[in-house]
Symmetry: none
Subunit: 146 residues, 2 copies
């Protein structure tokens, strides 16, 4: 989207990174606002810059606190403790050796024991899988375009 194609990795030049951050942050909020209005949705977006500054968007007429409050009340929502995040990281690290193979079979693995999921859980899972699928397709296309 611009004079040149941009690789999806951290922009090393701090000045360029700051400029891009400023522009794209505005773009992201604009998009969020459009979805909220066009599709009658309630949206909250929080951004922390690398330097720790916070920016937020919340779809009118709700305050962002309201969106998060609703998030807390969502039936299947569980707030992960830091402990659990650490467990995730540890688990991912442990699996490093067979990481690729594991990823290949993860989709299969994931779908094998769905009995204990609620409808909301499954909807969330569905979304995450769709996003994964999107990313896989994107990556494949990138390779094909080379």
């Amino acid at each position: 989207m611009g004079r040149g194609k941009v690789e999806l990795k951290k922009i090393e030049n701090p000045t360029n990174r700051q400029v891009t951050f400023s522009k794209r942050r505005m773009g992201l909020f604009k998009k969020a606002n459009e979805v909220a209005i066009l599709c009658d949705a309630q949206i909250g977006v929080i951004i922390f810059s690398g330097s720790g500054r916070m920016y937020e968007y919340s779809s009118p007429p709700w305050r962002i606190a309201s969106v998060f409050d609703r998030y807390l009340k969502a039936p299947s929502t569980r707030f992960e403790e830091m402990d659990i995040q650490q467990k995730i990281v540890q688990e991912m690290t442990r699996m490093n050796d067979e990481r690729n193979r594991l990823r290949m079979i993860m989709a299969q693995y994931m779908a094998e024991d769905l009995a204990s999921f609620s409808v909301q859980d499954l909807s969330n899972l569905e979304q995450q899988i769709e996003f994964s699928l999107y990313k896989v397709r994107l990556r494949k296309q990138e390779l094909l375009d080379q």
Copy 2:
């Protein structure tokens, strides 16, 4: 952005609204992901559809809970902190199904490092993910049909 210009107001036709919601939700998450990576930012996005379904994005490797936790601690935040923090603590205390959560998070992690995959690998992965998506949807439908 499309065959016709769209007025910024709620799309009245429910079918069109749903289609637009689905497309733009994906677009919004993609944009958020790009900003997070390009600009080294931490981003959380929560969307509630008009029907109350929740969708979320959180920039890897952070979980969305982490973004919100940081939000609650931000100096400029001034809504009822005690109240909401208490709710968080309660939620965290009630949390007991980390296994399923972990599995759900895996989908997101899974797609994060695709650099080493060949096109053939990706096609296989794509097929497996699509199959998983199919099974998740099937299971969800079963629950809804009960």
